[in-house]
Symmetry: C2
Subunit: 363 residues, 2 copies
């Protein structure tokens, strides 16, 4: 099989970049002096190669060819080969990785993707709407009442804040039934189809127990932060859940891994069906270009891997809906959390306004 | 309970730092406009507080008081509260966290620590020695032969390279018995007591299976990269294994989390018994001060949590042993990988030289 082409941005002087690139190739494969390797097969088939070195903005883009066999078709080992040791080297940033055709078949990939989420929410064409239950610390009844308003307001998806875990003040086992039932009741009243995506968190045993509770309650979507629960546990949980997965970027530390690579390409490879990312102009500093790139990589064709739904978020407001729709198009879910919650007593109205702007963009 | 004091280095202008700090306090707790929270208890007990703001090297050190209740005494949620969303904000670095007395009781912590590792290896006072089996891609017999030399040379611990996972070219199920038996045979010949620490990697199910194999083979120590397998899976595996845990820093991306915090304090809280870190002057750029700080934090008293063994590594050589011993003292394990392997045919000699320099430092 062809190599995985991993591109790193490296700050190094001109005179040293060739040696630096060779050192990186050793670091990210055999992690020992290549001169001490006698085995021809290891030299040919295992040691990473320096494919290209190109000057870029005062630094260099170094592309390594990493042997797919070294990743063992396993997520944590893929991350290890891409950015294990060199994540500790501050002058190195992992910018992108291109996988040979067929590599993705070694991973489950998204089980639902955009198409599955559209089917489940009953929204065939327009952009989707989403908000978040907050703040943590509020009792389950408060969150359930909030979820009721969001559902009455006609949102497509209501997710837990990613800070809602399994804390004593609203344990998963109490919160999920309360919220799920409040949304189901609102759906019955309105004939709507709002879907709840609770946060799954903790260790493998906790995740299994949460999956059990969620399925018993009829939960139809899941919010998970792959970098917090750990990518291999993230993947294993999917088989248990068999629900569309909304990936949260928390602990992504993505300023040293290219955000389109981590949040769109890798999360997609690892099975996310939708990926939340900090939109430009909000509380985070991603550029518009980076954000559009995330959306592009999430949706572009990738052999058998389903396209996934980009979910721009992070300090968004209802006023920005037209601009976001213009930028991201319809295969998008708009997530507004605090921007709705700030409406206080007017929450339901603000919610309906958000929904109307997405349903009737030209009104 | 008192607050967790988390310190962040933030690049922001003087005139904006107060607002930036308040925004960070909201981000790392309720993640919504604090003004939209009516619940007095949430405001008092859940929202993080700005404890101090101090100018430091042209930036600011902002200390937040994070409510322990928000972490639910669970590792992934603790990481979420410390550095979940703000890991995506490039101007923010997590420098340190001070936990209130008793907080550590909510975690297993190191089961063995320095004392347990000393007992297992039969080394009561001097520094310990360690090397690594490389390169990946080599067949199990090659790695076993290498392990035999390392054991004959008298090393205390032989670890897998962290790149040795469960790849087709030397699967865990073949490699571990071959290496463990080679070391046991060498121990019988020399009367020595060399311990093997194989790499555990992959998802929760794979980890359980690897634990089963390792225990059946009499493996006595484990090498795990918490950031690759995911911290909650790392913790859960410990109960299965009940062996001393050597933590590997791969994928730690520690340039945005203070290395002493991540590699010493947090890994210790999460149950590592020894922590590998890139020593100064090697292939990584940690300063001597940072490295000594990691060692200090690994060993300093922390109520009930056992001290753990610092393991400086990463491009070390036998020539540096005296200097490393002078810097780190005896409660240390010296890890030399490539620096031994580069000796080629003279591996066994180089190995014995390394061992002698540690056993008889004043010879």
């Amino acid at each position: 099989m062809e190599r995985i082409l991993a591109t790193y941005r490296i700050a190094a002087p001109d005179s040293e970049i060739r040696a630096r690139a060779e050192a990186l190739a050793a670091e990210q494969s055999v992690e020992m002096p290549v001169s001490a390797i006698a085995d021809r097969r290891v030299l040919d088939e295992i040691v990473a190669s320096v494919v290209s070195i190109e000057p870029r903005n005062g630094a260099f883009d170094v592309t390594l060819g990493i042997a797919p066999a070294t990743t063992g078709n396993e997520a944590s080992q893929l991350l290890n080969m891409l950015f294990g040791n060199c994540s500790l080297q501050p002058e190195v940033e992992l910018v992108d990785a291109a996988f040979p055709a067929g590599y993705e078949k070694g991973f489950p990939g998204p089980r639902f993707g955009i198409e599955g989420i559209r089917k489940m929410t009953g929204v065939p064409h327009r952009a989707l709407t989403c908000s978040a239950l907050k703040p943590q610390g509020a009792p389950a009844e408060h969150l359930a009442a909030l979820a009721r308003d969001f559902a009455l307001g006609g949102l497509d998806v209501i997710k837990d804040d990613h800070g809602l875990a399994n804390q004593a003040f609203s344990p998963f086992a109490n919160r999920i039934p309360a919220v799920q039932r409040a949304i189901a009741a609102a759906n019955r009243e309105t004939g709507g189809n709002t879907v709840y995506a609770p946060t799954f968190s903790g260790g493998p045993a906790a995740l299994r127990e949460q999956a059990r509770i969620a399925k018993a309650e009829g939960v139809r979507m899941a919010l998970i932060a792959p970098m917090l629960v750990g990518v291999p546990a993230f993947i294993e949980l999917q088989a248990d859940l068999d629900l569309p997965i909304l990936a949260h970027p928390a602990f992504g530390g993505a300023s040293r891994i290219g955000p389109p690579l981590l949040l769109a390409k890798l999360f997609r490879l690892f099975g996310a069906d939708a990926t939340i990312f900090p939109n430009h102009g909000g509380r985070f500093s991603y550029s518009r270009e980076t954000c559009l790139d995330i959306a592009k990589v999430a949706r572009e064709p990738w052999n058998g891997a389903r396209p996934i739904l980009p979910v721009p978020a992070g300090g968004m407001t209802v006023e920005r809906v037209p601009e976001m729709l213009a930028g991201y198009g319809n295969d998008t879910m708009l997530l507004i959390g605090g921007g709705l919650l700030a409406a206080g007593d007017k929450l339901l109205e603000r919610c309906r306004e958000f929904v109307r702007m997405v349903r009737e963009p030209n009104a």
